[in-house]
Subunit: 458 residues, 2 copies
Amino acid sequence: MKAYIEANKERFLSELFDLLRIPSVSADSKFKGDVLRTAEFIKEKLVAAGADKVEVCETAGYPIVYGEKIIDPTLPTVLVYGHYDVQPADPYELWDSPPFEPVIKKTEIHPDGAIFARGSCDDKGQMYMHVKAFETMMATNSLSCNVKFMIEGEEEVGSANLGTFVKENKERLKSDVILISDTSIIANDVPSIDVGLRGLSYLEVEVVGPNRDLHSGVYGGAVANPINVLAQMIASLHDENGHITIPNFYDDVVVLSEQERNDLNAAPFDLEAYKKDLNINDVRGEAGYSTLERTGSRPTLDCNGIWGGYIGEGSKTVLPSKANAKISMRLVPNQQTDKITALFTKHFESIAPKSVKVKVTPHHGGEPYLMPPTSSAYLAASAAMEESFGKKPIPTRGGGSIPIVALFERELGVKSILMGFGLDSDALHSPNEHYGLFNYYKGIETIPLFFKHFAASK
Amino acid sequence: MKAYIEANKERFLSELFDLLRIPSVSADSKFKGDVLRTAEFIKEKLVAAGADKVEVCETAGYPIVYGEKIIDPTLPTVLVYGHYDVQPADPYELWDSPPFEPVIKKTEIHPDGAIFARGSCDDKGQMYMHVKAFETMMATNSLSCNVKFMIEGEEEVGSANLGTFVKENKERLKSDVILISDTSIIANDVPSIDVGLRGLSYLEVEVVGPNRDLHSGVYGGAVANPINVLAQMIASLHDENGHITIPNFYDDVVVLSEQERNDLNAAPFDLEAYKKDLNINDVRGEAGYSTLERTGSRPTLDCNGIWGGYIGEGSKTVLPSKANAKISMRLVPNQQTDKITALFTKHFESIAPKSVKVKVTPHHGGEPYLMPPTSSAYLAASAAMEESFGKKPIPTRGGGSIPIVALFERELGVKSILMGFGLDSDALHSPNEHYGLFNYYKGIETIPLFFKHFAASK
């Protein structure tokens, strides 16, 4: 298989470039045509790789691309999940090269080069590794499990229609494990597997004061200023220890045992390099927890956006009518997203002073997730990475959310293994997102090894 | 004179409409041509009214229009100040009629109709009353003082070049009083004169965390979020009593005596109507002070704008690199704007946590101002209004700032009288700004009476 990959590596890369060129931004309706084109692209490539029953399945939103190869019904079946949509690329002016014109650049972390483009890591580069790994296994007649593909187009906007698709296709999606590459390893020489994912609760809040923008001289000091009030309300959501103050917020949080904390903190982590990479003088978070614990095992609250008043050129002495913010919380087992959303809403409405009106609008969320490192799926992924990296991977708890993982377990009764090949420094959701060539090809090499080990375990 | 005004009222209005149609927005460089055109318009009208030595005087920014009529050097000289530039009209979509297409609409407060347009009250309507009052006095041979006009084009952006003009033209601007109409009366049947103006300190702040936007799952909880930090810093600027927490902020504030507080609170004020007009359930401000005191005699702090992170359509789970805000403070005697700006800057930088970097950029400011209600200028304005309204005006302390008033006193040694005819409900700096026809004509009627009484007092 290595020989096949080597012989076809140029084409594997140029096809990924073609995929990256289509700006499949699901959050912004002006890219609708591009998102749909991307689904067709994935379908073509699956067909070319040898998949059967490949279909661009319509949903109430963007379609889900399905395909399969059943070689022997008695063999275990791996269901591959990925997404072909990408985050918006705003702000464009901060990209060094255009976000939808992939280029290879060498960096300190990626001396062999990395592919710079929106979606190169999240998730097109990682998802496409599976298509090429499948092609490789087919071409070399080494497919050891049945395989099914479920590649959706709405992950970045909450996978609103995936649940319905899964519920309506339980037979078609029957499988023994779901394989997902949308997470990261600690470093290119320190492989790791995410055994935990944080959940997500996302809301938009609006604080309304006077019924119109006011002159801040005539009214300032007499009337509640929605920006100042919003700032006070947001500030009150954390105490001086970085602890979230929403009543009952931590009730369902499973606290790590001493052993689990030690295991988590044993992963290689260089705080000075971390700070240097971000150019910050200090990290900041919940008192009493290390950086790895703060991102991996503790729930958090962040403002993702805030706006109000005059934000244009120069000065304007306005006391604005309203102020808005987008706020999200990352959750850990066993917090539940709907419950947290309700707690937040109730609390935020209750702390609003009488002089303003507050509106809270929930966006998409997702449950937290945990995969025991003793399961056969985990052990197969661990063996595969040990083989391809020459080192046993470390089980880690990721900070990010992949909300549908809990959905899959609930509807299909199947656990997911998060065998990803990205790096935290790949600038996901940021300008200049990239994905290492080393990582792309390592994934294509490792995935068939997972199939091999997983088949052997059954 | 009343007959002359009556005979020419249509033309007085249509000329004002022409003036209002030119979008002289000084804050936005794309309106440069319009601002310059407006200066020429004012020049033409002053010439037509009978002024001498009318000149559009160049400055490093927008020009200042000068004109004069010296009838007798032994008579007192009134220097009329106004501005021909206007605030930006953003957000345009909140205007019921286009901001630069003046229309007359009847309202509850203005049953005879009001002129709806950006600048109708602040300051074109009020400034143009002086041009028409001058024309009226000239046409009826009743000009009782010498008069000089100084109409600038940068008041809304801080009058950066006015100081230089004043310093370089001290001889030309020699006068006994400066007359300004850019403030309001309590109601159309409750005349008042602003004896105090608040000062202004305006700054822009930037909080920078990581050197790039981050994925809020991967980094949330581990790294300081500039929006959350900015919110906390802004929130900390007030205590639970609405008192500003900047050290030494109140040091120079002249506290009103019991008598002065009673006088201020004696002005007619309907709190229920005030709340109803703004559609708020409660006012909010510094504990221990009434609404009139909060706006007239106490310094305040407001956020005029705030922005950071993703503020577009939908959701984006970003932990942004930075967050910004525009913050301004209204000052009272004897606070000084540069001193307050320095105090704010020092304090804001000192409360920034180590995990972020903070930048504070000052914008234009202005000193507070007080005119004693015993001066001859005040008494002349009081007598003029008593004659035209049939009621003695109440001395009030305004919330807004006209920074150049302190500049005039300092450079020309002349005090200003703020005889304005607008209403607080005229929506200055807001969408649907308007100015009552009653008020426009009442001003044209009253201004010559000021000249008469002021001449008589000398």
